[in-house]
């Protein structure tokens, strides 16, 4: 079974600190690695994504680091803010015909304290 392992399960960070969430995958056929952010009472929404031909992608305070040889990728949130408090899901997907079949990690609940 295709798996994506995510850690930690929960994370508490002080305002202004760096939040780091790690994921590992097994299937080298995965070709797209998104991160989704979910606030309480809402569905997940795409935050940032990377393809395996790139080692890093940065969008504002959010950065994905990707290590193809180790089959690992991570999300870094710089200058973490209380508004970043949410659950974060990493995912890995592969294309089959006209759709992407996505496998999600188990989620990390981030709390940023003032």
């Amino acid at each position: 079974q295709q798996q994506v392992k995510q850690s930690p399960q929960s994370l508490i960070v002080q305002k202004g600190g760096i939040s780091i969430i790690n994921c590992a995958y097994e299937n080298t056929a995965f070709d797209y690695f998104p991160w989704y952010q979910q606030f309480p009472g809402k569905g997940p929404a795409l935050l940032i994504a990377i393809r395996p031909d790139v080692s890093e992608k940065k969008e504002g305070r959010f950065t994905i680091s990707f290590n193809k040889s180790a089959k690992q990728f991570s999300l870094h949130i710089m200058d973490s803010q209380p508004g970043d408090s949410a659950t974060y899901f990493c995912a890995a997907s592969l294309r089959s015909g006209g759709y992407q079949k996505v496998t999600f990690g188990t989620g990390t609940k981030l709390q940023v304290i003032p």
Binding site: Q1, Q6, Q9, Y32, P34, Y36, G41, K42, G43, P44, A45, L46, A49, F89, S93, G97, G98, Y99, Q100, K101, V102, F104, G105, T106, G107
Partner: protein, 112 residues
Amino acid sequence: DVKVTQSSRYLVKRTGEKVFLECVQDMDHENMFWYRQDPGLGLRLIYFSYDVKMKEKGDIPEGYSVSREKKERFSLILESASTNQTSMYLCASTDRGTDTQYFGPGTRLTVL
């Protein structure tokens, strides 16, 4: 803005009842998905559909069925609800050839 709506935010049903969860998207997306979300397990794919009247099993289809009679609407059916189907159910859609999944707000189903 893509909008995915789900018919109910909260639902309480009794064991053995037939349950319908409805999802509608307004962006003419070909692909639609049903997931369930449980603490510590993340999102797990139940069923998906890549075209009207087409459906494919996901990772945990047992106890569920789906229906897609119109492109914008994808229904999840619990033929005989059981307590282990108490969960948050999320619907998502994507356009053909694109990768971003757009999620609805979820339906929290409790089976007593």
